[in-house]
């Protein structure tokens, strides 16, 4: 039983770190703001959740567990809402997405990565 818990905890941590890393690569490499936000917003929630679950499996103590659960619930609330608000503010302040920009230019700049 102990072994199963340890292995699943390690798996969660590994998967969470991988997701966070892919989000980090996304924020560096992707071409415009909205695509970057998509990379970060998605991986942030899932990666953070997986890492926190992995930590919860590491330490089955009462108070620590409750605090980790609190952080998990708050992350699940906060991260998507922040991404939503950010995208909305960017759209309202006339930051045009890359795909729209290319269409408006008649495809002349569509060779841009």
């Amino acid at each position: 039983m102990e072994l199963i818990v340890d292995i699943s905890s390690a798996l969660c941590l590994l998967l969470g770190s991988f997701l966070c890393l892919s989000g980090g690569v996304g924020i560096m490499r992707l071409p415009d703001f909205y695509t970057r936000m998509h990379a970060v917003g998605v991986t942030d929630t899932l990666g953070a959740g997986l890492i926190l679950i992995g930590l919860m499996l590491q330490n089955p103590e009462g108070l620590v567990e409750i605090k980790l659960l609190l952080i998990l619930v708050m992350t699940l609330f906060i991260s998507p809402v922040a991404s939503h608000a950010l995208a909305k503010a960017a759209l309202r302040n006339h930051l045009v997405p890359l795909s729209d920009r290319n269409e408006n230019n008649g495809g002349t700049e569509s060779s841009k990565p």
């Binding site: 620590v64 708050m74 950010l86 302040n93």
Partner: protein
């Protein structure tokens, strides 16, 4: 495994800092700060486990809350008139297109 996860988070934080410094538009910077905040929460929880002091989780909770509040604050103030008609912003958007 805890150490590996900590190192991964540190690498992501470095990438976030780079985006925060170079970020062409204002929103890229806000995004970088937001991601940095989430990663700090994770880093502090992981460090608490690595060093065997789960008191650190209190700080992680504060971070999660403060991060949300400051992101909302940034968005609230970036809606105001001073920011919307700023020459810098349009300049940077055209530069990027």
């Amino acid at each position: 495994m805890l150490i590996a996860a900590t190192i991964a988070i540190l690498v992501v934080m470095i990438l976030g800092i780079i985006r925060g410094i170079t970020g062409p538009t204002l929103y890229d910077r806000i995004l970088a700060v937001n991601m940095f905040g989430t990663k700090t929460v994770l880093l502090i929880s992981l460090l608490g486990f690595v060093m065997g002091r789960p008191d650190f989780l209190d700080i992680a909770i504060v971070y999660a809350l403060i991060n949300f509040i400051s992101i909302i604050g940034v968005l609230h103030f970036s809606d105001s008139a001073v920011f919307r008609h700023d020459p810098h912003d349009s300049e940077s958007t055209t530069k990027e297109s």
